[in-house]
């Protein structure tokens, strides 16, 4: 392995990530440079350190209490790091279109699969490091005050290894998912495309869950004890090493830390082999059964959509299952549902109701914020067609709502059965999930109309990262402001029920109307002039 080549490739991949936004496409601008992520890391680290230090100083805590806090928190930092790199990587790194997979420089430059995997994993780890820097900054403040800086150093080293591990896992998913095309499964036709979509979702889901500490622990504890699991399963070695360190068992801690390094090396070798064996520059061609030119879309027309709107919705729904780069988006709500099912019994009916509403809203939001950016350069077709911005808005809203409402009803019914809820409560739950989906669809479209990223790059995003963060945080706040009183209305009794119901209805109507207005003005503005 040529380390110089790996370093140069890493730099290029990081620059590609930094310049993926429309505004940062100017390579001379400071925010289009790779080191900006290191700057964000440093700012996150120092901000967390300063804030935590001030808080810790203001609290009357003894050194022993602080040491306990460090010993309790530190072991989870590596787990958070793996999950951050893996989830963010799956969400944002697997969205490269087939066109870019095919033109990936690694396909034609003299770069070995292991070199590519090493470089790309490093780029993923570096790109998604700010949340980990935030955790580490907070941890250092407490560790210094407690007088246990050694714990911080070991945690930091293991967290960096864990970030890299997450990056390597993303590369494994990338190689495997690229192979999961219809031409490689010997199938043809419409069903082949559906089969590929399901296969990819299951595949990404399996990776996500296999390295999700919450799921893994909940699942494995049915078969074994906590100590045996964390010692036997490599994913938990960093965590267990930090527990041993806290107990003063330094040799065991060192052993597991070294074991973690060995596990990571094995993963890199495995990922390199997977890429060598499975990577195909372009997925094979897929044929679909011949169909005569359509005479319209009767079902969609029945919903009140015009012919152009129905055609746009039909196009988006096809893309939903056929576009490899869209499928990772489906995994997140599925993971949330699986976690709910695993933890369901302990959550209770009330929490599950909130969970259902949250997943419904979050799913609609995800679809909505990506709905414009996923047009990519084909957006100019929409400009060239004789249609108005309002036609496109109605179509986009409909193509978000169709899958979101179906998902909401299915989830609400499943929770009703799981917790043996009465028909009135299930009906209320269906309404609540649908309301959450509608409001968050408008909310997402308002952001998508203003901050979509249309760049076709090796590592594209559908929405600019800053907008994604602000949109998600504000959207989730809106959701909870709706879901908490609504769940009181569903399960409470007496006067608060009426108050909560009125609040939920009034809040939904107001926020929904505001978000709809933002979406309309955003679409009018977006379709005034081609944004690229």
């Amino acid at each position: 392995m040529d380390l110089h080549r790996v370093r140069r490739l890493t730099e290029v991949l990081v620059a590609s990530q930094a310049r993926s936004g429309r505004a940062s496409s100017n390579p001379k601008s400071w925010y289009g440079r790779g080191w900006v992520i290191a700057l964000i890391d440093a700012i996150s680290f120092l901000a967390a350190f300063g804030a935590t230090f001030a808080i810790v100083r203001s609290l009357p805590l003894t050194s022993t209490e602080l040491t306990h806090a460090v010993d309790d928190a530190a072991p989870f930092v590596p787990l958070v790091a793996v999950a951050t790199a893996l989830v963010a990587g799956v969400m944002f790194e697997l969205t490269a279109t087939a066109k870019f997979s095919g033109s990936d420089a690694a396909n034609w430059l003299p770069i070995t699969p292991t070199e590519f995997v090493s470089a790309s994993s490093a780029a993923v780890a570096y790109s998604y490091s700010p949340p980990v820097a935030l955790f580490l900054g907070g941890l250092l403040a407490v560790a210094l005050e407690a007088g246990v800086p050694g714990t911080f150093v070991l945690t930091a080293v293991l967290a960096f290894l864990a970030l890299y591990e997450g990056g390597v896992l993303v590369e494994m998913v990338r190689a495997v998912s690229q192979r999961a095309g219809p031409s490689n499964t010997g199938r043809r036709g419409q069903l082949a495309l559906l089969f590929r979509a399901v296969l990819l979702v299951v595949l990404i889901l399996a990776f996500d869950l296999a390295f999700n500490p919450v799921f893994l622990l909940a699942f494995l504890r049915q078969f074994s004890t906590y100590e045996i699991i964390t010692t036997a399963v490599p994913v938990f070695w960093s965590t267990q090493a930090l527990f041993y360190w806290a107990d003063g068992a330094y040799a065991l801690a060192a052993g597991l830390a070294v074991g973690q390094v060995g596990f990571l090396a094995a993963l890199v070798v495995l990922a390199g082999r997977l890429r060598r064996r499975l990577w195909v520059p372009l997925p094979g061609e897929a044929r679909v059964e011949a169909a005569a030119p359509s005479a319209g879309h009767p079902i969609l027309a029945g919903l009140g959509l015009s012919r152009a709107e129905a055609a746009l919705v039909s196009k988006d729904l096809r893309g939903f299952v056929r576009r490899r780069e869209m499928l990772p988006m489906l995994v997140v709500p599925v993971v949330l549902v699986v976690l709910m099912l695993v933890e369901g019994a302990s959550l209770g009916a009330l929490a599950s109701v909130i969970w259902v509403g949250w997943v419904a809203g979050f799913f609609a939001f995800l679809l909505a914020v990506t709905s414009i950016g996923q047009e990519r350069r084909a957006l100019q077709s929409l400009f060239a067609f004789p249609i108005t911005p309002r036609t496109i808005l109605r179509a986009k809203f409909s193509s978000v709502l169709v899958p979101a409402l179906i998902g909401s009803v299915v989830m609400a019914a499943a929770v009703g059965v799981l917790f043996r809820l009465g028909p009135g409560v299930v009906g209320g739950l269906v309404l609540l999930a649908c309301a959450a989906a509608v409001i968050l669809a408008w909310w997402g479209l308002a952001f998508a109309a203003r901050y979509s990223d249309f760049q076709e790059r090796p590592r594209p995003q559908y929405l600019r990262p800053g907008a994604m963060i602000v949109g998600t945080l504000s959207g989730m706040s809106v959701l909870f402001a709706l879901l908490l009183p609504a769940s009181v209305a569903l399960f409470g009794s007496g006067a608060p029920v009426l108050l909560a119901a009125l609040w939920a209805i009034g809040f939904s109507a107001t926020v929904g109307a505001v978000a709809r207005h933002w979406s309309r003005t955003g679409f009018d503005r977006l379709f005034r002039e081609l944004p690229f």
Partner: protein
């Protein structure tokens, strides 16, 4: 040479005689920040004529075409389609235009047939018309047999053919074609050129045609407009441009190089050869 047969126009179709040009661009300027892409550009595409838009890379050709389509808003000036300002009725004017962008971005997750069906829906083409026209075009461009393959599996030439069919399927009155022959095999390029000539002569379609291949412009264009650094360097028939350049017996390449002020190419080639 099996050119695509053209369906005749309906009897109530009245092509304007001596009416306004298919396209008229009046004093259009467009800047992107400090970069002036177009400066006071005026040109017209008469009904039934093919006008070639030529110019070096970065001359402003694509900006001009995108402005005609309403994809970009000119800072100054106006664009008239059959005498009507495109900004007053953007949807109505777009209905009359067929557009092939410089690099066709198609929906790769649709098949060729599904994409063309989608485009037909966008233009409100009735089922009978699309059943008659889409297979005709697919056969003419040798895409029959590939129409049910996802576009992601198409070669560049096949994508270009789909983009061309999408621009033609609704029988537009003005064609705006940005490098339409990119990636086409010789047969399809010939079909396209002959088809454009037929559409112009027989159907009165106006064509604004951008290309870097000067032989093509020479072969099919009635008039050419040469853009250089965002301004019209020259326009007219080829013979009038020859006269203006003082190169009476030269081909369009020599005329183009003379009118765009290109330096001594011999020196460049000699330097690059070492």
């Amino acid at each position: 040479m099996d050119a695509i047969p053209l369906p005749s126009r309906p009897p109530d179709d009245t092509r304007p005689e001596g009416g306004p040009p298919a396209l008229e661009v009046r004093g259009v300027s467009k800047a992107f920040g400090p970069v002036r892409a177009l400066s006071n550009v005026s040109l017209s595409v008469p009904v039934g004529q093919i006008v070639g838009l030529l110019g070096p890379n970065g001359a402003g050709k694509s900006t001009m075409m995108k402005s005609v389509l309403g994809l970009l808003r000119p800072d100054v000036g106006e664009i008239l389609l059959f005498g009507r300002n495109v900004r007053e009725d953007p949807v109505g004017t777009k209905r009359q235009i067929g557009y092939v962008p410089e690099s066709a971005s198609l929906y790769e997750f649709l098949t060729g047939a599904e994409y063309l069906d989608f485009v037909a829906d966008m233009y409100g083409l009735d089922p009978e018309a699309r059943r008659a026209r889409i297979p005709q075009f697919l056969t003419g461009f040798e895409l029959a047999g590939h129409e049910n393959t996802l576009i992601s599996g198409y070669s560049q030439g096949m994508r270009q053919k789909v983009a061309l069919i999408a621009a033609l399927v609704h029988r537009p009155r003005l064609l705006v074609l940005d490098e339409p022959l990119n990636g086409l095999d010789p047969r399809s390029a010939r079909v396209t050129k002959d088809l454009l000539k037929n559409l112009a002569v027989r159907e009165g379609v106006g064509v604004l045609f951008s290309t870097h291949v000067l032989e093509i412009a020479e072969a099919i264009c009635d008039r050419v407009v040469i853009l250089n650094r965002g301004v019209v360097a020259a326009s007219g028939t080829l013979s009038s441009l020859r006269d203006r350049a003082g190169l009476a017996s030269s081909d369009l390449e020599e005329v183009f190089l003379a009118l765009t002020g290109t330096g001594d190419l011999g020196e460049v080639v000699t330097a690059l050869s070492h």
